[in-house]
């Protein structure tokens, strides 16, 4: 009870402070703008907008930096937050799960206004994210969801990608296609939402089609070499394999290499998805991947900031909002691969 009272008081004091600050800064600038013909409403809108972000802090905790997705997100968040007058903080746990929980715990102590997290598994940060919201931090989850919902999830709709991929595989490999109907799935880390949702969705589609046979569903742990080894084994068992579906493109490049080594390029279809970096378009043109659902990582970075803008202007307390912004996806094949991918920042 005391905590709630304190928080209400604190919020009141903050609001009063903002009002005073706003009021003191309003006349001079508003007067000047109005004199130049700007409407009072526009001036008000700009003042409210600026006040929502200036001096606030946004923290970003990816699983690791140094991969195309996180580099791109960081680049966009940092640039757009800078324009809003926000302070940007990055904590790179370098793939170390222990370091990641420590980084998030430490951030809860530092109280940034918004925390953007990238969940390696549905459970790792589940408790900490609850704690962060209780501490008054808005949490935005990017691309990999936690079991704990927070103010916003921004990222691909992996269930839908799994479903659409599986449906495409059914038309390419199922009854009437003249193909074997044999499908192999290369999972990611089985505890990550990206892998779980795609595999669940795909298996549900395949289960409804007795003409499709899932001959293998093995975890590749996001590792191209593991995907290559698994696919090489599956191809010796089933040289008539119709399609392989990997839940992440960079990993699935390994499956593409295995298909190429087996001399089956074009005969075994390779399906995958991801953020669409240039290496993927190059590989699609080289025949290593046939169909790729791209959720553009640059647009996702922008979507993160859109979510942040909405959340901070809404005035909602952490824990009040439960929004989802699914990324737009497009399919890339050899026909439209030119210019469909993005270069990494700084390249």
């Amino acid at each position: 009870m005391i905590g709630t009272t304190m928080r209400t008081l604190l919020a009141g004091a903050l609001a009063a402070g903002t009002l005073v600050a706003g009021a003191s800064s309003l006349p001079a600038s508003a007067g000047a703008e109005e004199a130049l013909g700007a409407s009072r409403a526009a001036v008000e809108a700009r003042r409210r907008f600026n006040a929502a972000f200036e001096g606030k802090t946004i923290a970003f905790v990816p699983i690791t930096m140094g991969v195309p997705l996180t580099i791109t997100w960081k680049d966009t968040i940092e640039r757009e937050a800078g324009k809003l007058g926000m302070k940007f903080v990055l904590r790179d746990p370098n793939l170390d799960m222990g370091a990641m929980t420590q980084a998030v715990s430490a951030l809860i102590g530092e109280r940034p206004d918004v925390m953007v997290v990238h969940n390696p598994s549905v459970q790792l940060l589940a408790k900490l994210l609850k704690k962060a919201e209780k501490a008054g931090i808005h949490v935005v989850q990017i691309n990999m969801a936690s079991n704990t919902p927070t103010s916003a999830y921004v990222g691909a709709d992996f269930y839908r990608i799994g479903k659409e991929t599986a449906e495409d595989i059914v038309t390419q490999c199922g009854a009437g296609s003249g193909r074997s109907g044999k499908v192999a799935i290369v999972e990611g880390d089985p505890t990550s939402s990206v892998s779980m949702e795609q595999v669940t969705a795909a298996k549900a589609v395949f289960a409804a089609h007795p003409d499709i046979q899932v001959v293998s569903s093995q975890p590749g742990y996001w590792d191209a070499n593991k995907a290559r080894e698994i696919t090489a084994s599956v191809l010796t068992q089933h040289p008539d394999l119709c399609a392989t579906y990997g839940v992440w493109g960079i990993m699935q490049l390994g499956a593409g290499q295995a298909i190429k080594e087996a001399g089956l390029t074009g005969k075994v279809l390779n399906y995958s998805n991801g953020g669409g970096p240039q290496i993927i378009c190059d590989s699609i043109k080289a025949g290593l991947i046939d169909k790729y659902w791209s959720f553009d990582a640059k647009l996702q970075g922008h979507d993160i900031m859109t979510a942040v803008k909405m959340i901070l202007q809404s005035g909602a307390a952490p824990g009040d909002l439960r929004t989802v912004l699914y990324s737009d996806t497009r399919m890339i094949t050899a026909e439209n691969a030119d210019g469909a991918c993005w270069q990494m920042p700084g390249q």
């Binding site: 140094g66 590792d223 070499n225 084994s233 068992q237 960079i250 290499q257 190429k260």
Partner: protein
């Protein structure tokens, strides 16, 4: 001589278990007992086998290298990173090798001259390499791709001779070279002596400290070769491999085949037996489409079984105990 005989015992047991596993899989799994699958099986463990060959040298000398996979990924990634910068292919490859040797020499120096336990030196070195190479040499990248200009390197990973993939040949060559070193040269005998009893080896005039430098340098260099094979196979180096269990898998293969952690025992035959068993199990489990959890259970049980056997055959006693032993 009794010690030598017991190591043959474990290698033979593991080889026998492998034969049984092959027989069982051949009966139960369609398509297991084919030449094509045999090639895939050996191909899939060739990187692990190469790593284990280097690890064997260190473990026979009663050491341990927990930085081998970090060395593997970091040095091969750096070599790839240098290639598009205008450096000729050979120079980039040489630079990677020099870096690997340097890491091995530092490991060896800290263990031999500063007398720190190998376990901690190499554990810390693994973190250091990962961080320092990534920030200092790779510009923060976790993923490094094989550049267009170095496509010729892909031959290493993607071509074959008479249907046998090149990684298998590289593994065979490395194993043969290591076998020759260990069994037919005086340095090889010194390495066994070092592992059997370092004090006695020193008293008999073996330069144990420079020898330690050589052992760790060789281990790091084999790691580099494994890294190149991996890079050529997937046209990229993914530094996340450092956080995987690959380093422990290499130790598993070595111990499984009968190279005792207490040093001085086993040989490259042990590495081959261990690699064959792991390869057979992994391949069989993938064909059976077992879940990740079941695969982990099987791998864990096999490792425990191997260590139990090692303990039973080579019990640790006060005479051979050392501070910092695992």
């Amino acid at each position: 001589m009794t010690a030598r005989e017991t190591h043959i015992g474990q290698g033979v047991i593991v080889a026998a278990v492998t034969v049984v596993a092959v027989a069982v899989f051949s009966v139960l799994l369609d398509g297991f007992a084919t030449l094509a699958n045999a090639v895939v099986l050996v191909r899939s463990v060739s990187v692990l086998g190469i790593l284990a060959t280097g690890m064997a040298i260190v473990v026979i000398a009663r050491g341990l290298d927990l930085s081998q996979v970090a060395t593997m990924a970091a040095t091969s990634a750096w070599a790839l990173k240098l290639m598009p910068g205008g450096l000729p292919l050979w120079a980039a490859l040489l630079a990677g090798l020099v870096l690997a040797l340097l890491i091995g020499l530092i490991n060896g120096a800290l263990i031999a001259y500063v007398e720190m336990p190998a376990l901690f030196v190499t554990l810390a070195m693994g973190f250091l390499i990962f961080g320092a190479v990534r920030t200092g040499l790779l510009g923060g990248d976790m993923l490094v791709y094989l550049p267009e200009s170095a496509k010729s390197l892909q031959i290493l990973g993607q071509e074959g001779i008479f249907g046998i993939p090149i990684p298998v040949f590289v593994f065979a060559t490395m194993a043969a070279a290591a076998h020759f070193l260990l069994s037919a040269t005086s340095i090889g005998r010194f390495i066994y002596a070092h592992g059997d009893n370092a004090e006695t080896a020193r008293l008999t005039g073996i330069p144990v400290r420079p020898l330690t430098l050589l052992e760790y340098a060789l281990c790091a260099a084999t790691g580099y070769v494994a890294g190149l094979i991996m890079a050529a196979s997937s046209a990229s180096v993914d530094l996340r491999i450092i956080n995987s269990t690959l380093n422990f898998d290499a130790i598993l293969v070595v111990v499984l085949g009968g190279i005792s952690l207490s040093g001085g025992r086993g040989g490259i035959g042990s590495v081959l037996a261990g690699t064959a068993l792991i390869g057979t199990l992994l391949n069989g489990m993938v064909i059976m489409n077992l879940s990740a959890e079941v695969q982990n259970i099987v791998k864990g049980l096999v490792l425990l079984g191997a260590i139990l056997l090692d303990n039973a055959l080579h019990p640790t006693d006060e005479e051979v105990m050392r501070q910092g032993d695992i």
